[in-house]
Symmetry: C2
Subunit: 411 residues, 2 copies
């Protein structure tokens, strides 16, 4: 709604449009890769001179370069191609996953320039030791960054429930964390003048798959992320479902087995994550002493090789997973359901059960077009999601963000 | 994104802002009731003269009146109050509910000016006889409308799955309808130059409760509508969840009882609607021969009066309903869950079971603030939702819509 201000509405409007166009062009290049001036003009419905002016501004800021395309095979003067400048800016992305700590320096276009990682103990790890390790990685990655390269944001993915706004870990079942100021502590210790923005791993995984993976081009996407538990990120009309306080998407705590359910880490029983998580699978496969991603992969491989116990375990897990997927499809009518994390390994071995449930229990109208698949970004899904979170400010206001950071560096 | 056009961007922008402000002001008065000029200006962040100009334009179109408030008790010159003109425009709203057909003429402000209704047989009713009855009601209501009053839209609520766009009934389990052109047939037969826009009853109920009922002021609302089955309307960020093809919100087909479920009308088993619908309740209460809303009310009353069988039936239904509600809260983190239709009668008798499930199985962060209640609009929820659907064009473009209809009437 219009507000009375001193700048005339017309000029204010032009400035806003210009600002939005700069943001839109950089985002297209960041997410879609190099693009010709002509294609950018067509997609953004802008004329030649406007695209030229926008590109000039982004080039001056050092964010993009232009060059001639190689071998288009088309007649006439080829349109210049705009591509991200490889080393002008980067972000730091951290991933506190259930069995490892990862850090990466990521450039425009989602290019991982460098990375560090270490295995992580499953339990008894306190905030300080996690922050210690990650901050060490972060400093190392920054020290190796090209001279004159600017860090424009820091994002972190965490395997637990995060309070929106300040990166407080409300509940990290796996590490036993309750109300730990992870984001604030990371920002304080890293001390580079940037806040560390924290997101839930499944939310960030959904975002990454939607923007760069198996969900590209779809407006409604369900992402299920398995580790010890099962988290979810649900994209509704191109936006992550957040709910009234930011705690939506807890699909791992749908009750799928209300009367004979396995106890769940949340205090309830029969939750999807209790029935299809790592523990359920390994116990059903009579491998109760094994643990971790490798043990899950071994079980899936054994089932494929004819191990009957492993086969039965996957069938059982697959049926519960199928019930969860059925409910999600009937509720959300999504274009695609994506399995990531540990479920990326489990799904191929349980696809028959999941699909049977979908065939039997999903309404035909929603079943007709839905696709089920594994994550396209592999084990980097959550890390890339954290990087995208870190790029938010730059993509929203490219010039202003760079100016602010350059001034800050001079002080 | 900006497009190159011949009108200067600044003037185009001003026109768009004016258009949006007219729509916004009329919508506020329609949904919120009479409002003083001062309050409208504050809420819309517009200055005095702009509000005056907008009001003058709506007054000239005959949509609103202004008068002095009665007895504000405040000092100084009172601000004029803008209120909808009672009989300049109206819509027709139809409701094909499971046991009755209803039609109403509804004015601005959601005022039901007149209505007709008839009981409906449960089965074996074909498209023609439903359309016959409704069109008869419609003509009758139009004939009784004040002279010079204009019908600005027609909406219909239907107890089945509707294809977005053309009002085709994809699946009407209750009447056994499959792919029936209900919307087109209603438009053709009513023949007043307006399309009959059809919506699913639970979607429309959700919209009505969100705009005028128990969901007012909340951005995330779950509405469960019971009749023979259970439908749903889920408001996410103030918008109805639609999904990729418009078939989201099928919460009645969440599988809550995967292994011993009652058969469901959809061909599946253990769906929420199979476990908590009218049939499940009446059979559990050992009243298998009774049917309809009165029988449901009798059962709830009997349980309250100490009938043990009825009490057990409600406990059982309440537990299944609770499981469904748990899943919805964990997935959507809503502010409020509203029970409508037949569930408006059932919920008070089953609230203890539902709340026990919520306490046991919902994550604390989502449980902390969610409210459970029955629909505030009673049995008119779906009818009012149909009326709101019919008001869509007028509220989006008040002046243009009236002009178009006035010219049409002259031809």
């Amino acid at each position: 709604m219009a507000k009375d201000r001193t700048i005339p509405a017309g000029r204010r409007h032009q400035r806003e449009v210009h600002h939005a166009n700069l943001s839109d062009l950089l985002r297209r290049i960041h997410l879609g890769g190099p693009i010709s001036r002509t294609a950018a003009g067509e997609q953004m419905r802008l004329n030649r001179s406007t695209v030229m002016a926008l590109t000039a501004e982004l080039t001056k800021a050092g964010l993009v370069d232009e060059d001639l395309p190689t071998g288009t095979g088309r007649m006439g003067r080829p349109s210049l191609v705009i591509r991200p400048t490889s080393d002008r800016v980067h972000v730091l992305a951290f991933d506190v996953a259930v069995d490892r700590l990862v850090a990466a320096r990521v450039g425009l276009g989602g290019v991982v320039q460098d990375r560090r990682s270490a295995p992580r103990q499953r339990a008894g790890v306190d905030l300080e030791s996690v922050v210690d390790a990650l901050v060490g990685f972060g400093r190392d990655l920054l020290a190796g960054a090209p001279k004159d390269s600017i860090c424009v944001g820091v994002g972190a993915s965490y395997c637990g429930m995060i309070r929106p706004g300040d990166g407080l870990v409300r509940f990290g079942p796996d590490l036993g964390w309750v109300d730990q100021a992870f984001g604030q502590e990371m920002s304080r210790r890293l001390d580079i003048g940037l806040p560390v923005i924290v997101g839930n791993e499944a939310h960030l995984g959904a975002r990454a798959e939607h923007e760069r993976g198996a969900g590209v081009g779809f407006r409604n996407v369900i992402y299920l992320h398995g580790d010890v538990g099962v988290g979810g990120g649900i994209i509704v009309g191109d936006r992550l479902l957040d709910g009234d306080n930011g705690y939506a998407c807890e699909l791992g705590h749908m009750v799928v087995n209300p009367y004979n359910g396995r106890p769940c880490g949340c205090g309830s029983a029969g939750c999807l994550e209790a029935e299809v998580g790592e523990r359920a699978l390994l116990e059903a496969a009579q491998r109760p002493d094994s643990v971790g991603r490798e043990a899950v992969r071994d079980t899936v491989a054994a089932a494929a090789a004819g191990d009957e116990q492993a086969r039965r375990a996957l069938d059982e897990i697959g049926d519960w997973l199928g019930i969860g997927v059925v409910n999600l499809i009937n509720l959300f009518n999504p274009a695609v359901v994506i399995f990531g994390g540990m479920l990326r390994d489990v799904y191929p071995g349980a696809a028959a059960q999941v699909q049977a449930r979908v065939a039997r229990n999903v309404l035909p109208v929603s079943r007709e077009r839905v696709r089920l698949c594994v994550s396209a970004l592999g084990d980097d899904t959550t890390l890339i999601g954290a990087a995208e979170l870190a790029f938010t400010d730059l993509l929203n206001s490219p010039i202003e963000t760079l100016q602010k950071l350059t001034e800050h560096a001079k002080e």
